[in-house]
């Protein structure tokens, strides 16, 4: 999976994110749009688009989008 693919899906699914606003080093939990619904949306998005099941705590343990992408990639490999 290209990190770009994940970023595109992330920007598309989280309410209020502009296309191109997210980079691999973005600390996504510091975004103004990041709240409990964004967590739920991220879980639903990776399940629907990448067939990966994550818990909120796993996502919240990631600092940057790159770390999040590595998590998704690692789970996909399994």
């Amino acid at each position: 999976m290209e990190i770009k693919t994940l970023i595109d899906e992330f920007e598309r699914s989280i309410e209020g994110l502009a296309p191109g606003s997210i980079a691999p080093e973005t600390r996504f939990q510091e975004l103004e749009q990041w709240d409990s619904l964004a967590v739920l949306t991220t879980i639903a998005m990776v399940d629907a688009e990448f067939e990966v099941e994550l818990t909120a705590n796993e996502i919240l343990a990631c600092n940057t989008i790159r770390e999040f992408a590595e998590l998704v990639e690692a789970k996909r490999g399994r």
Binding site: S36, L37, L40, A56, I59
Partner: protein, 247 residues
């Protein structure tokens, strides 16, 4: 206190392996009643009640979602004085990721199973006059929460169906009520924590004047609704939420 006693009454408890279902079984037994307890997995069911199996307690494996499973259960059951529908499922998802498949799956266990099992038992003459039916719904059945669209819809439907059933079954003196719990520490709270994270759960608990509940906190109000102490209570919803929706 004899009115609160369940001696001589037989109560069906679905989802007996759940945190709430299990506490309800124990509450009914403690109040002197007999329990028929259902779960999908016989091993899990036996494991949960290792110490409770007695003449007063009968576990039955049943698939409540399949119409054939319900028919088989209805055939197998004795005449009942009460039913407590605890089997249920939660699927938290944002509005942009809902599907007809997810909606139907939740509706099947949270709405269709309790309603159609009740009506099938009624039709088969297995609900005794003076009986009491309790639907375990949820505060989301009438108060909104993010990510709860499908779950709330299924529980709201259950509450509404319960009111009309109460009207229709009143001539047989069968009462139908719903119980609306807020967050109760059980399997479902763990599931919610998985979807929301520990921090969000702690923040949510802070909104509960009495904190999150324990399964027993819901079980005793259910025993009241099953007992003759509530004989004039029907078609209503008892909110058990530590004050969450009072705010």
């Amino acid at each position: 206190m004899a009115l609160f006693d369940l001696t001589g009454k037989t109560v069906l408890v679905t989802g007996a392996t759940s945190g709430i279902g299990r506490a309800v079984c124990r509450g009914v037994l403690e109040a002197g009643g007999a329990v028929v307890a259902t779960g999908r997995d016989g091993k899990r069911l036996d494991g949960v009640f290792e110490d409770a199996v007695s003449e007063q307690f009968r576990p039955v494996v049943a698939d409540l979602v399949a119409p054939a499973g319900r028919e088989e259960l209805v055939r197998e059951l004795p005449s009942l004085d009460g039913i407590v529908h605890c089997a249920g499922a939660l699927d938290l998802a944002p509005a942009s990721f809902l599907s007809s498949k997810k909606l139907r799956a939740l509706e099947a266990i949270n709405y269709e199973a309790p309603v159609l099992l009740t009506t099938a038992l009624f039709k088969a003459g297995k609900l005794n006059p003076g009986g009491s039916v309790v639907f375990v719904a949820s505060v989301t059945g009438f108060s909104g929460a993010k990510g709860h669209v499908l779950y709330a819809g299924s529980k709201g439907a259950l509450i509404a169906a319960g009111r009309s059933l109460a009207i229709e079954l009143a001539s047989k003196r069968i009462r139908v009520n719903s119980l609306a719990p807020g967050m109760v520490r059980s399997g479902m709270v763990e599931q919610a924590a998985g979807a929301l994270g520990d921090e969000a759960m702690a923040a949510h608990e802070a909104e509960y004047p009495l904190g999150f509940g324990e399964p027993e906190d819901v079980a005793w109000p259910v025993v009241f609704l099953l007992s003759d102490a509530s004989r004039w209570v029907t078609g209503t919803t008892l909110v058990c939420d530590g004050g969450f929706t009072a705010r």
